[in-house]
């Protein structure tokens, strides 16, 4: 029943492609990268065993180009395709096409992706399986009038979401009925651009909720387990920026309840491979189903550090038909992990993307510090794709230790040439709100929208003068060093 996977095409780029390739290599599995013309020098190309150029910069012609990707997989003799996150990761057609061409798609079946990818259908179906859902439209409303009526019955504010959504794209919060029409149009437009599907739906907007999600693993033999929850409430513009595992507010009873609900729903729809059930949690700790991400998540490392499981390894094993190596009882969380996403973006200006060249890049290291990076010093971040550069993840014996480690890791980081959220993240993690575990999905947008960095001016001025006076590099040890001679011949034998 188990198939052998010898070589995998990674249909993605950046940090996630690099991360997947690392595990493949450790498993002795060959890797094929695909890249667009602007990514010839990208980190994921350098990490791969082989690489195929699949088109020009524009994603529609390269990373979203199913035909070119499948052709590359076949030409290089791959047995499987790992889609990463974003791009084609939640595209049921792509999963189907892969299987049709004899390629194992490392993810759930096309049917499951299709069902759960339509957020409207998923809400409907999973509420039937007992998952609590937020009041909202279920797809029957067709005219603006009907939608307006629905919003009025659920009460403002509401949120417009893309049915094919993910990553905060195609999402608009609407405070007043008068703004609904524009929000619907704008969300639909962004959704169409991002996912090729402009269908949207409306939910009641929960005020200051927490975003808590449950990681699951499901094999092809009907076994489903959960790997406890992650909290991802620190968001800007509906996009996660800091994640942690476990959640600072979930106790054992709630963990088991949420986990069991996710496992039950996953079994009901025949879910296979890794997936995430996302929930919003209100102030009274009621949880409401949000959506299922039918793929690896950006924030999967925090779960890996706390459970000891390599999720990519498990994804590959499951795809090959192997039964889960671990039972639910063996998932014993230990310690605490925090992840910060490092984007090319400017937190002092609404987190605007900031493409450009990484003039200096110093990444942190040391005990309990993991960096999943997709860039290097000198790399020019292309404008065409999601501007994620890397992720810093820290582990500690408890939440405080992990947070302190993260603060130190961020302070060790140097990113110049482009703006980065590092200074913002340091202040966020040092804040009392974060320390107390009180960050909600509204915190950054509402309380920190005017954030400006506190600059270390005095020290910078002193460093400026110091560099002027003493910054001349000492002449480097001129010339190459001699090859060391054999030790056993230190005593120079002459014949």
């Amino acid at each position: 029943m188990t198939q052998t996977i010898d070589k995998i095409l990674i249909a993605n780029r950046g940090e996630i492609a690099v991360r997947i390739m690392r595990t493949c290599r450790e498993m002795g599995i060959g890797t094929v990268a695909v890249y667009s013309e602007v990514d010839r020098k990208a980190a994921h190309v350098m990490m791969a065993d082989e690489a195929v150029c699949i088109g020009p910069a524009e994603a529609a012609l390269s990373y979203l180009n199913m035909e070119a990707i499948i052709q590359a997989a076949r030409a290089t003799g791959c047995g499987a395709v790992h889609p990463g996150y974003g791009f084609l990761a939640e595209n049921a057609d792509f999963s189907e096409q892969c299987e049709a061409h004899g390629l194992i798609f490392i993810g759930p079946s096309a049917e499951v992706i299709r069902l759960l990818g339509d957020k409207i259908a998923a809400r409907k179906r999973l509420s039937e399986e007992g998952l609590p859902i937020i009041p909202g439209t279920l797809g029957g409303e067709n005219t603006l009038k009907e939608l307006e009526a629905a919003t009025l019955s659920m009460g403002y504010p509401v949120v417009v979401k893309a049915a094919a959504g993910g990553g905060g794209k195609g999402m608009r919060t609407v405070a007043r009925p008068a703004e609904l029409e524009a929000a619907l149009a704008s969300a639909a437009g962004e959704a169409k651009a991002a996912f090729g599907n402009g269908k949207v739906y409306i939910e009641k907007y929960l005020v200051a909720p927490r975003h808590i999600e449950v990681q699951i693993l499901a094999d092809t033999h009907g076994t489903v387990i959960h790997l406890i929850e992650r909290e991802c409430s620190a968001q800007r513009r509906h996009q996660k920026i800091v994640e942690e595992c476990p959640s600072p507010v979930v106790d054992k009873a709630m963990r088991e309840k949420m986990g069991a609900a996710a496992v039950k729903a996953a079994k009901a729809v025949g879910y296979t491979n890794a997936g995430t059930f996302e929930f919003l949690v209100d102030a009274e700790m009621n949880f409401y189903f949000l959506e299922v991400n039918t793929r690896l998540q950006v924030e999967h490392p925090v779960t890996e550090l706390v459970t000891g499981v390599d999720l990519v390894r498990e994804q590959i094993r499951i795809a090959a038909g192997a039964p889960l190596a671990l039972s639910q009882d063996e998932i014993i969380p230990r310690g605490h992990a925090v992840e910060c996403r490092i984007y090319a973006e400017d937190p002092a200006n609404g987190f605007m993307p900031s493409p450009g060249t990484l003039e200096t890049l110093v990444e942190p290291s040391g005990p309990g510090v993991r960096v999943d990076s997709g860039v290097y010093e000198g790399w020019t971040v292309p404008m065409e794709y999601d501007p994620i550069l890397s992720k810093i993840i820290t582990f500690g014996s408890d939440r405080k230790a992990a947070t302190q480690r993260m603060i130190q890791a961020l302070k060790q980081t140097v990113i110049t040439g482009i703006a980065s959220p590092v200074p913002f993240l340091i202040e966020l993690l040092e804040s009392e709100t974060f320390e107390k575990g009180e960050v909600t999905t509204d915190t950054i947008d509402q309380e920190l929208s005017d954030w400006k960095p506190t600059l270390p001016l005095t020290e910078a001025l002193l460093a400026y003068v110091a560099h002027d006076l003493f910054g001349q590099k000492a002449p480097s040890m001129a010339g190459p060093t001699e090859q060391p001679s054999p030790w056993t011949q230190l005593g120079a034998f002459r014949i």
Partner: protein, 174 residues
């Protein structure tokens, strides 16, 4: 030795006396004794009043960029800067977009009176859509773009006329 440095809007003059492997100076009345060593290619290690500090120093146009504890600061040589701020108009609105974008929608019409925060234009850059809002109460005096336009750094999309003229000279950013 005197250094006249500019960090953002702030200009600071440091009178420095060099010492063995270091210097002493004063900033805002606080005395500093600094010793310094270059380390690797871009780093300086300092003792500032006995406190150990690592700074990443890059030479940039007109000065240096210094990163300490993860936070970069540009320190410019005020003596090498143009006399007045001729390079940029200091008006809050008169700035240059940092990257090429595509205009998706114009949400206002010529002559509209808008409150601070009213959405004006929706643009898309780096796969992300963002709505530009009015930085103050204003009247739309001209619209220079249309949906589908590729807009480049330097282009002005919408001209605004403030409604409360007393605000004219204040504000250093929205």
């Amino acid at each position: 030795m005197d250094y006249r440095c500019k960090t953002g809007m702030i200009e600071t003059t440091l009178s420095c006396t060099t010492r063995k492997k270091g210097f002493s100076t004063e900033i805002d009345g606080t005395p500093f004794i600094v010793s310094a060593m270059p380390v690797g290619e871009k780093q300086m290690h300092l003792f500032i009043n006995g406190r150990s500090r690592l700074a990443c120093v890059e030479v940039i146009e007109g000065g240096k960029r210094i990163t300490i504890d993860g936070v970069p600061v540009e320190v410019l040589d005020a003596d090498r800067l143009p006399d007045t701020s001729s390079a940029k108009d200091d008006m809050p609105g008169d700035v240059t977009p940092p990257m090429p974008s595509v205009v998706l929608a114009i949400l206002v019409s010529l002559g509209d009176q808008v409150d601070k925060g009213t959405p004006l234009v929706t643009v898309s850059a780096m796969k992300m859509e963002t709505t530009l809002t009015a930085p103050f109460d204003a009247r739309i005096s001209s619209i220079n773009t249309a949906p589908g336009d590729q807009v480049m750094p330097g282009e002005i999309l919408v001209n605004l006329e403030p409604i409360t003229p007393e605000e004219e000279k204040t504000g250093t950013g929205g």
